[in-house]
Amino acid sequence: MAVQKAIPFEVPYSLHTMENGLRVVLSVDHSVPVVAVVVLYDVGARNEPPGRTGFAHLFEHMMFQGSANVKKGEFYTYVEDNGGVLNGMTSSDFTIYFEVMPSNQLELALWLEADRMRSLQVNQENLDNQREVVKEEKRLRVDNQPFAYARGILLYELAYDNFANAHSVIGSMEDLDAATLEDVQRFFRTYYAPNNAVLAIAGDFEENQALEWVRKHFGDIPPQKPPQPVDTSEPERSQEKRATYTDRLANLPAIAMAWKVPPRHSPERYALALLDRILFGGESARLHQRLVKRQKSALAVSGGLEDRRGPGLFTAFVVFKPDRAFEQIEQSIYAEIEKIQRKGVQARELQRAKNQLRAERFRGVWGGLYGLQTPLGRAIELAYHTLFDGDPALINTELQRYLQVTGQDIQTVAQHFLVPSNRTVLHILPAASGVASEEELGWDDER
């Protein structure tokens, strides 16, 4: 196909480091009177030792429970009553908080973030309350949903060998029950320090004014001794790992698999990201075509590169029709991978994958929230590049690295990483009661 010339697009930014070690990255865009404030802390589930799983996420909840000058509940109301939205999210690699506000309320958002960075206040009642909330969150997201545990937790526990990488963000409820107020305080002191965080502001504001407010509110928060670095290294595997899980909430069979891949900084990840689109990037992608369309065996195919700061995974997840065999689905996935290992990829599908990557920058991968068209998307992307890569410039330059990937690079990473000895295969057997027979499916039967 003919390639239309791309229209250039750059995100402006500036990076500043405060005396207390807080890195501040700013990106001005006056087109809409909206501003996004992001605070990204260098702590995630990977920092949790055994016996303390789920702690980083529980702690994220505690960050909304009050600080020296903001009472419980007021964090929400200060933001929302002034026309903004807010949230927090914890992953294995990081914990992130954001506010998106009308731009005349920038200083309010900075004050709120600074107050809880300086002086989070927790008490037993709030800790107990949020523990219950997190338990409901786990029931909602994991325990009461088909496939959620197997695909979202068990697969990772099997695929990673290092505990830091393998355990889930939501953690175990026993560990959460064991968390004490003192644990919460210690966690706060260790990780919620200005020198362990990046503050990103994007949208409609003046740089000098913003920097003045940042100094005013964050400037005297004392730095802490940098936390111990986490060892996220993964041993190499010498043989395939296989497991079977019976899912009492599922009524269709599924396969989940994962191959270990190198960390975010490694050169191979660019080729792996394009391989992701070639195998999984839409209805014309290879696995959808093979499993859903030609073989008519699968209902849904998803997966691809799960980039982490440390070693990542390349995954595949296929829900398939009950009259098909696990063996058939598995072999089909391997056959498609082997084709790439043997013959490489077509120039045309490589170009397709690159165009998809270019478009994802603007669309965002999760429903548009994080695409570069929004202040929030720009702030999050700048914060990631600053914390993970030490260089916000990558927001503009990283795309080139992807566009330079060749078909040969893709063939090489497929040959190197998507091999049997490096993979984990999980068969998920459906065991929901009452769904086995066709007659029971008609939904008028219930009256």
Binding site: E19, N129, E283, A285, K293, N355, R363
Partner: protein, 450 residues
């Protein structure tokens, strides 16, 4: 730097900068397709919504799911390209294009890098004007729809939505949230073609474009792309209104193995173009539409009963609903329902305070600006205004209208439109764990998930 003092009270806002509302241009193509364009060059990207006024409310009574299956098959091949070629043509542009039917209309949503817009328009035109409905594609879509239905029946949120719609809407077509297996089996390629012929016409459609393109260029490209698509005149079905409720009822959907209860409760509400709808929206936001709302602060932050709790006003052409939802552990289901109904009673009795009203208005107006900061957000708002037949200047007047709502409007709306003693309460979970706790709230009907 010298020693600083901690600022103990929130800093004041600076002057509010005006929001330049997206400027809309409207024109009609030679073929009779009405187009709304918002030129937005902040990013070299374009977002499209091609809306056809046909939804599940247009499904014949015997064929629930027909509009959904038609929408699905639109992208599974055209008279020019087989499904793979079509998908490849879209994805090679770095574009996405998908079609989905809701109750009132079908949306073909697309996004594309700006330089590839002309080619995407041709593909969009092909899907709506010349889909193939090839036998093999339709057969596969039917088979997969049946399997997907089966899968949906394991998801508690689906089961709650399904039973709730059935109870609320009775014989009205809004009562159906998914196809039936029998209906899917009875659909043939010709059924889809006839349905498509009947409703997929330019005079029954609207194209919303937000992105890096100007009106004259777009107009020209659309005349080329949509050239062969002819107006035919469309008759829309009419329906009896959904039933009135005169008492509170409880509907337990037994889902074996559940470790949580999905609660969904409420009743009908005025339509979005009703003069009181905005007061209801403000009221709903204060009750359960945000993190600082009464339901969130009570059920989650004070009681710890739920992670997710809130309330919602649906927006449909023929009837809307007011609903509250939460997912709670079985032991507290009775207390949770009591608290949620209590918050509604409270609102009816006392309304909301002046300061709560002010902050709720600020929230609505502020988040409206945030919504209008993305192409998708602007496009969705225009689609809603057009499809729900809201006043043309709704976007321009929204914030002023929100500002004009008073505490009396809120209490009046609560008293006129909220009826805790007439709600349908749907609970999906293990029947033995929850039935007893729910008995005090009304007559309990128990049904199976399968």
């Amino acid at each position: 730097m010298g020693r600083r003092t901690v600022i103990t009270s929130p800093p004041p806002p600076t002057p509010l900068r005006p929001l330049a509302l997206p400027r809309r241009e409207e024109f009609t193509t030679d073929g009779g397709l009405r187009v709304v364009l918002v030129e937005d060059r902040r990013v070299p990207f374009v977002t499209l919504r091609l809306v056809v006024r046909v939804g599940s409310a247009h499904d014949p009574t015997s064929l629930p799911g027909l509009a959904a299956l038609t929408a699905h098959c639109l992208t599974q091949g055209t008279v020019k390209r087989k499904s793979f070629q079509f998908a490849r043509a879209v994805e090679e542009l770095g574009a996405t294009l998908e079609a989905h039917a809701n109750r009132d209309y079908t949306v073909v949503s697309a996004t594309v890098l700006a330089e590839n817009l002309p080619r995407l328009l041709k593909l969009a035109a092909e899907t709506v004007a010349h889909p193939a409905f090839a036998t093999n594609e339709v057969e596969l879509a039917k088979e997969n729809t049946i399997q997907t239905l089966r899968y949906q029946r394991t998801q508690p949120a689906f089961l709650a939505r399904e039973r709730y719609a059935k109870v609320l809407f009775g014989n009205h077509p809004y009562s159906r949230v998914a196809p039936t297996e029998e209906a899917v089996k009875a659909i043939h390629p010709d059924t889809l073609r006839q349905f498509h012929n009947m409703y997929y016409t330019p005079d029954n459609s609207l194209l919303v474009v937000v992105g890096a393109v100007g009106a004259s260029q777009l107009h020209k490209r659309l005349d080329e792309a949509f050239g062969g698509w002819q107006p035919r005149g469309v008759q829309h079905p009419t329906h009896e209104p959904p039933p009135r409720r005169d008492q509170r009822t409880v509907h337990v959907v037994h889902r074996p193995g559940s470790v949580q209860v999905n609660l969904l409760m409420g009743h009908l509400a005025p339509r979005p173009n009703h003069p009181d709808f905005l007061a209801l929206e403000v009221m709903n936001t204060a009750l359960g539409g945000r993190a600082g709302s009464r339901l969130f602060m009570n059920v989650r932050e004070q009681k710890g009963f739920a992670y997710d709790v809130g309330s919602h006003l649906s927006q449909h052409r023929e009837a809307s609903s007011f609903s509250m939802s939460a997912q709670v552990r079985p032991e507290v289901v009775g207390e949770a329902v009591t608290e949620m109904l209590g918050e509604v009673e409270n609102l009816r009795r006392e309304g909301i305070t002046g300061s709560e009203l002010e902050s709720t208005k600020n929230y609505l107006n502020g988040t409206y600006s945030i919504q209008l900061s993305t192409q998708g957000g602007i496009a969705s708002e225009i689609v809603a205004i057009e499809m729900l037949e809201l006043p043309k200047d709704s976007m321009e007047t929204y914030r002023e209208r929100v500002r004009s709502i008073t505490v009396d409007d809120i209490r009046g709306a609560a008293q006129r439109y909220l009826f805790p003693d007439r709600m349908a309460i749907v609970a999906v979970g293990e029947v033995d764990a929850i039935q007893q706790s729910l008995q005090p709230f009304g007559e309990v009907e128990v049904c199976s998930a399968f």
